[in-house]
C-alpha cells in the first residue's frame, strides 16, 4: 500500500468514525425514535386513506394504488427520514456560532464531516422507518407491483440513490453556506426543500404528475433527487439510462458550484481569536 493510499484509507476510516459517533446520539434515545417513527406511520396511514378514497372514486390507472403509496413511503423514509437536507442546519449553526474557523484547522474536510454527521445522526431512525413503513404498508395497502424489477433496474436504482445523496448534499451545503451572507439560511432552505417536496413525489407520486412536468423534472436537479423515490414506478424502466446520466451530470455540476460558493464564503471568514 502506498503512502497516499494509506492516508486516504485512514481518512475514510475517520469519516466513518464520525458517522458512527453521530449514530450513537440516536441510539441513546430509543423513545424519541419510536415516537417519530410512530408518527411517520400515522402520517402514511392518513395519506393512504385519502388516496384510497380518490382511487375508489376515480378509478385511475396511471399508477397502481399500492405503488403510489409505497412511492410516497419511500419519499418519507429516504428524503424526510435520512434527512440529508438538514445538513444545512449544521452548516448554518457553525457559521452563526463562529465555529467554522475552528473546524478548518482540523485535518478532515469540514463539509464532509458535516455530511457524515448528518447521515450518521439519522441512520438508525431511517433504518427503523424503512422497516416500520414496510410492515405498515404491507398490512394497510398490500404489496406493490414489482413486475418491472430486474437486476439491471435495481442496480441502476441504487446508483441513482447514491447520486441523489451526493447531489442533495452539494445542494444543501450550498444552502447552508448562504448563511455567510444572509445570516439565516432558513428561507433559502425552504424554497429549495419545498420545490423538492412538490416535484419529488411527497404527496403526489411523480408518476401521477402531468406528463410535461415529468419530462422537465427528469433532467432537473430537483428531479434527480426525486428520482430516488421512483423505485415502484414502472415508468422508470424506460427512462433509467437518461435518469442515470442526468443524475451523474447534476451531481458534478452541483459539486462544482458548491466548491465555488465555498471559495467565496471562505473569504468572509473572520478569526475572532480568544
Amino acid at each position: 500500500m502506498t503512502a497516499s493510499e494509506a492516508i486516504t484509507k485512514s481518512r475514510l476510516h475517520a469519516y466513518w468514525k464520525v458517522m458512527m459517533m453521530s449514530a450513537r446520539e440516536d441510539r441513546a434515545n430509543p423513545l424519541r425514535i419510536a415516537g417519530s417513527v410512530g408518527l411517520g406511520v400515522v402520517r402514511m396511514i392518513l395519506i393512504a386513506a385519502i388516496y384510497k378514497v380518490a382511487y375508489e372514486l376515480t378509478h385511475t390507472t396511471a399508477l397502481p394504488y399500492e405503488n403510489a403509496i409505497w412511492s410516497m413511503g419511500l419519499y418519507f423514509a429516504f428524503i424526510v427520514g435520512l434527512s440529508v437536507r438538514n445538513v444545512f442546519r449544521l452548516i448554518e449553526k457553525d457559521v452563526k456560532d463562529g465555529n467554522v474557523e475552528v473546524s478548518l484547522i482540523k485535518p478532515l474536510d469540514w463539509r464532509a464531516v458535516k455530511i457524515c454527521q448528518q447521515i450518521g445522526k439519522n441512520l438508525l431512525e431511517f433504518s427503523v422507518l424503512v422497516v416500520a413503513f414496510f410492515a405498515t404498508l404491507a398490512i394497510v395497502v398490500g404489496f406493490p407491483d414489482i413486475s418491472h424489477f430486474s437486476p439491471v433496474f435495481i442496480g441502476g436504482y441504487l446508483l441513482i440513490m447514491l447520486l441523489a445523496i451526493l447531489s442533495a448534499s452539494a445542494m444543501f451545503l450550498m444552502v447552508g453556506l448562504t448563511a455567510f451572507w444572509l445570516n439565516d439560511s432558513q428561507s433559502v432552505y425552504r424554497i429549495v426543500d419545498r420545490t423538492i417536496m412538490v416535484f419529488g413525489g411527497s404527496f403526489v407520486p411523480i408518476a401521477l404528475l402531468p406528463g410535461a412536468v415529468q419530462d422537465v423534472l427528469r433532467y432537473s436537479p430537483v428531479g434527480v433527487y426525486g428520482a430516488s423515490t421512483q423505485l415502484f414506478n414502472p415508468g422508470l424502466v424506460k427512462y433509467l439510462i437518461p435518469t442515470l446520466i442526468a443524475s451523474a451530470a447534476w451531481s458534478v455540476v452541483l459539486l462544482f458550484f458548491c466548491q465555488l460558493v465555498w471559495r467565496r464564503a471562505e473569504r468572509r471568514i473572520e478569526v475572532n481569536g480568544g
Binding site: R32, G35, L39, V53, A54, L182, S187, R190, F203, P210
Partner: protein
C-alpha cells in the same frame, strides 16, 4: 413599562383588589400588559435584521405556495373527490395558514418549552411575578408567521369572494375560526410541548406530534368519511382547524360550528389543566445565568 392601572401581583397586599373576580381581572390585565411588552421587544429585535426578516416572510409565502402546488397536482389528476375540488383546497390551505400565522405569531415561545425544561432555563420563567404560560409564549417570535398570515388572509378572502359567500356564512366562519385557533393552540403549540415534563429530550418528539396534527389539517382530509373522519373531528381535531371552517363558509353548517366550539372548549380546559399539573413535575436545575 407596565401600565399604571394594572395591579401588580408584587404590590403590597393592602393595595390589591379583594374580590376574586376583580383580582382575576387585575392579574389578567397585568399579565397581558407584560406579555404584550415582551412580545413587542422580541418583534423589534427580529425586525432589526431587515434582510433576514423580509426573506423569511417571503420564503414562508413561497413555502406555502409550494405546499399548495403539490396537492393541487392531486386534484389535477383526480378532479373533484368527495365534493372537494382544487378551489376548496385553496380555501382550506388559506384557512390553515391563517390559523397557523395567528396562533404562532403570539405563542411561538411555547415551542421552546422542551429546551427550557431539558436545560433548566425554565427556572427564570418561574421566578417572575406573572403567568408562566404568557411568559413562555412571549419569549420568542417567529417572523415567518407574518408570511403565513399574509398568505392565509389572501387565500381565504379570494375563496370567500370566489364562492360568493353570504354575510351569515362569513359570520359563522369567523366563529369557526375562533374555535380553530383554540384547537390549534392546544394541539400544535401546547400539548406536544407538555411532553417535555415527562420525557427527556422530547424536542423532536414534540415537533413530530405538532407536525402530525398540522399534517392532518394540511392534507385534503375533508374527503375522508367514516371512523377516520370522526377521529379527526373529536380525538385529534385536525379537521376543525382547516376543513370544517371551509365546510361552514360554503354550506352554513351551524352544527359544525357548535361542535367545534364544544370540542375547542373541552380541549382548552384539558390542556391548561395538564400544563398546570405538568409544571409541578419540573425540577430546578440550579442553572445560573443572566437574563
Amino acid at each position: 413599562m407596565v401600565s399604571k392601572t394594572s395591579s401588580h401581583p408584587s404590590e403590597p397586599i393592602g393595595n390589591r383588589p379583594t374580590s376574586k373576580l376583580s383580582r382575576f381581572w387585575s392579574y389578567a390585565r397585568h399579565d397581558l400588559s407584560v406579555y404584550w411588552l415582551t412580545l413587542r421587544v422580541q418583534l423589534r429585535a427580529a425586525a432589526m435584521l431587515r434582510g433576514a426578516f423580509i426573506t423569511q416572510v417571503l420564503g414562508m409565502i413561497l413555502n406555502n405556495i409550494c405546499f399548495l402546488g403539490s396537492w393541487l397536482f392531486f386534484f389535477y389528476h383526480f378532479g373533484t373527490v368527495n365534493g372537494w375540488s382544487g378551489t376548496d383546497f385553496i380555501g382550506m390551505m388559506g384557512m390553515n395558514a391563517l390559523v397557523f400565522g395567528l396562533v404562532f405569531m403570539f405563542v411561538v415561545g411555547l415551542m421552546d418549552i422542551p429546551r427550557h425544561v431539558d436545560t433548566g432555563s425554565l427556572d427564570s420563567f418561574l421566578t417572575k411575578p406573572n403567568s408562566v404560560l404568557s411568559n413562555l409564549a412571549s419569549s420568542n417570535v417567529d417572523v415567518t408567521t407574518f408570511g403565513d398570515l399574509v398568505f392565509g388572509v389572501s387565500l381565504v378572502t379570494w375563496y370567500a369572494v370566489h364562492i360568493d359567500a353570504s354575510i351569515g356564512a362569513i359570520l359563522l366562519f369567523l366563529i369557526a375560526m375562533a374555535s380553530a385557533c383554540v384547537v390549534f393552540f392546544c394541539f400544535a403549540a401546547l400539548l406536544p410541548n407538555i411532553l417535555a415534563f415527562y420525557v427527556f429530550d422530547s424536542e423532536k418528539l414534540s415537533r413530530y406530534a405538532g407536525i402530525l396534527f398540522l399534517d392532518a389539517g394540511l392534507y385534503p382530509s375533508g374527503v375522508l368519511s367514516g371512523a377516520l373522519r370522526t377521529i379527526l373531528l373529536v380525538a385529534v381535531p385536525s379537521l376543525l382547524f382547516a376543513a370544517t371552517p371551509i365546510d361552514v363558509i360554503r354550506g352554513l353548517h351551524w352544527e359544525w360550528v357548535g361542535l367545534g366550539a364544544l370540542v375547542a372548549a373541552f380541549w382548552l380546559a384539558f390542556t391548561l389543566w395538564l400544563f398546570k399539573r405538568a409544571l409541578r413535575k419540573y425540577e430546578s436545575a440550579n442553572l445560573i445565568g443572566a437574563r
